[in-house]
């Protein structure tokens, strides 16, 4: 909210505006997808490999399913997964980072060692491994991603807590005997709170890429259309050798790239907004 009330005209700059614009469009498409019938993109509606035409602007896939419907429903899958994962991860990271920042030395040391260990393990490999063995339902994918993605933001937030800690007014309040958690919430939150926004956006971005990659490898939820799953069938059918890639592969691939790009632009813009030093240096 602090951001919105700021008197400055240029809230997020051109980059941020472009990012917000793209994301709004994807969000609109996703909302429109909610109005589609339940079997949209899953039911056979045409001849297999039907080219665009008639009621099918993007044609049909190898099982005669409507590719445009898959694209629209996929937007909802991608965005809802990304936002739930980002919320859960940000919460988890704030808890771990906060506890490691203000907790007793043993707790802090244990948490940070744990974080370091998690940081070395490659996220995407862990995600594919866990999803292969534990299942690929929406809830399971969200849970796995949140459990894998927290270490990087937790480190960022711990560093922010430690920086806030050394501020004068916090040191004074601490000397007066205020409990640490109270200090952090009452006097530190305005310093740390805004940092949660880029953490949220960056996590959403990684969730979109990782989940698309999982579906691309054929480990997506087979009952729900998604961009990655459409591209899995593109790969399996060797669509690239024909013109069909123009309406079969190009739309979902572009959709994933644009969504991630939008989140990246917003993330960069928010980071620059929060950290004027970055903007200085970039000049």
């Amino acid at each position: 909210m602090m951001l919105l009330r700021s008197p400055r005209r240029r809230l997020l700059g051109v980059q941020g505006l472009i990012g917000t614009g793209i994301l709004t469009v994807v969000l609109g498409v996703a909302l429109f997808g909610l109005a589609l019938p339940d079997d949209a993109g899953r039911a056979r509606v045409a001849e297999p490999y039907a080219p665009p035409g008639g009621g099918l602007p993007l044609g049909a896939d190898d099982l005669g399913r409507n590719l445009l419907d898959q694209l629209i429903v996929g937007a909802g899958t991608s965005l809802s997964l990304a936002f739930i994962v980002a919320a859960a991860t940000t919460l988890l990271a704030a808890l771990v980072g906060g506890a490691a920042g203000i907790g007793p030395r043993w707790l802090s040391a244990t948490l940070m060692r744990g974080t370091d260990i998690m940081l070395v393990l490659p996220e995407l490999i862990l995600y594919i491994l866990a999803a292969a063995f534990l299942g690929q339902s929406f809830g399971m994918r969200v849970a796995i991603l949140a459990l894998i993605l927290w270490p990087v933001p937790a480190r960022v937030l711990r560093a922010a807590v430690l920086t806030a800690w050394s501020r004068g007014h916090l040191e004074v309040a601490r000397a007066m005997g205020a409990p640490r958690w109270w200090l952090l919430l009452r006097h530190g939150s305005y310093l740390i709170g805004p940092l949660l926004i880029p953490v949220f956006v960056r996590t959403a971005m990684r969730a979109v890429i990782y989940d698309a990659t999982l579906s691309f490898l054929g480990l997506g939820d087979p009952t729900a259309p998604s961009w990655g799953t459409t591209l899995y069938w593109v790969q399996t059918n060797g669509v690239f050798l024909s013109d069909a890639w123009l309406w079969w592969a190009l739309p979902p691939g572009t959709a994933i790239s644009l969504t991630v790009l939008a989140l990246a632009l917003i993330g960069t813009a928010v980071e620059e907004r929060l950290n004027p030093a970055l903007r200085e240096a970039a000049r």
Binding site: R113, D116, I117, M118, L119, V120, L121, P122, E123, L124, I125, L126, I128, L129, A130, A132, F133, L134, G135, M205, I209, A212, T213, F216, L217, G218, L219, L231, V234, Q235, F240, L241, W245, A249, G253, I256, S257, V260, L261, A264, L265, T268, L278, E280, A281, A282, R283
Partner: protein, 319 residues
């Protein structure tokens, strides 16, 4: 130069190794429906009699208490016995051994190329920030960073393989068999995919790191003293700016190794990643488990190696 590998770091990598092994052991056993599901399709399993189930359970030790199973698993790992593949009945270790060199070649080349290109462009981007070139590079980096690896791979195949027909897009060798030239030619597109998607972050980091150093007080003071700009950058700014980049490079290792799963699948490259994809499609769990283990170990070992070489760059870390 005498320096010793800090015991603390060593213990940490040992812990990472422990966590990786534990996850690899525990996840298949957490499979809904029990570990027996590893041994075939649901239909085939439904046809098994209770006796047959018990027999499989005894044969693979699923009846034993968990700690004992874990010990057996560790013994297997350290004696390079990872079980037999469900699809072709060969020992998993053998299949992995054949694929490993290809992945090492792909990931190793990609790490070197990514580091060289990413850092060089980052330095250029920082020094030319006021000209068009700098901001053009910046936007390109942000866009490239947003492309999923499999998507960029597909685009490169369409452009260079199908439309222009300049480069091979499939496997590691043509009809003439495995030749050095053929292998290198087949390496171009997969390495480009990994490099282009991986260098964005490295570029951004190098750029901002060098900018921070260039605007720092010691450097500005040196500039004010009259040290020429070129010498200032080369002698005073580059080294401190590039030290933190080393850490980012270590993170890239994990990214590139994970990327090999995707890229090898797209380009039908016969390494561990392609093997993983095949194992996933065939639900060949022992092979899947083995491939994941080797990939994870690869990342941990490369990280340890990169970590061990850090003191060579930074004299302060040699104490």
């Amino acid at each position: 130069m005498g320096w010793r590998y800090p015991a603390g770091r060593f213990a940490e990598y040992a812990a990472v190794l422990g966590v990786a092994l534990t996850l690899n052991f525990a996840l298949p056993r957490a499979l809904p429906g029990g570990p027996l599901k590893l041994f075939g399709s649901p239909e085939a399993l439904a046809r098994l009699t209770a006796d047959e189930r018990a027999q499989i359970a005894t044969q693979y030790g699923f009846g034993k208490p968990l700690p004992e199973q874990f010990l057996d698993y560790l013994t297997g790992v350290f004696t390079l016995d990872l079980g037999t593949s469900l699809s072709d009945g060969r020992p998993v270790t053998e299949t992995l051994g054949e694929a490993l060199p290809w992945t090492l070649l792909l990931v190793g080349t990609s790490i070197v190329v990514t580091a060289l290109v990413g850092v060089t462009l980052g330095v250029v981007g920082a020094l030319r920030r006021r000209e068009g070139k700098g901001s053009g590079l910046l936007s390109t980096a942000i866009v490239l960073d947003s492309l999923p690896q499999f998507w960029l791979g597909m685009l490169l195949i369409v452009l260079f393989g199908v439309q222009l027909q300049w480069l091979p897009t499939f496997g590691v060798s043509g009809v003439e068999g495995v030749t050095v030239q053929g292998v290198l030619l087949h390496l171009i597109l997969p390495v480009s995919t990994l490099t282009l998607t991986g260098m964005g972050y490295l570029f951004l980091y190098t750029r901002s790191s060098l900018l921070t150093v260039l605007t720092s007080e010691p450097i500005q003071h040196a500039h004010a003293r009259g040290v020429p700009y070129g010498r200032l950058v080369r002698r005073h700014a580059l080294r401190p700016a590039l030290l933190p980049v080393h850490t980012i490079l270590m993170m890239e290792i994990g990214f590139l190794a994970a990327g090999s799963i995707v890229v090898e699948t797209v380009f039908a490259y016969p390494g561990l990643g392609r093997l993983t994809f095949g194992a996933i499609s065939a639900r060949d769990y022992p092979l899947m488990q083995g491939a994941f283990l080797v990939l994870t170990l690869l990342v941990v070992l490369m990280n340890a190696l990169a970590d061990a070489t850090y003191p060579l760059l930074d004299p302060r870390a040699r104490r």
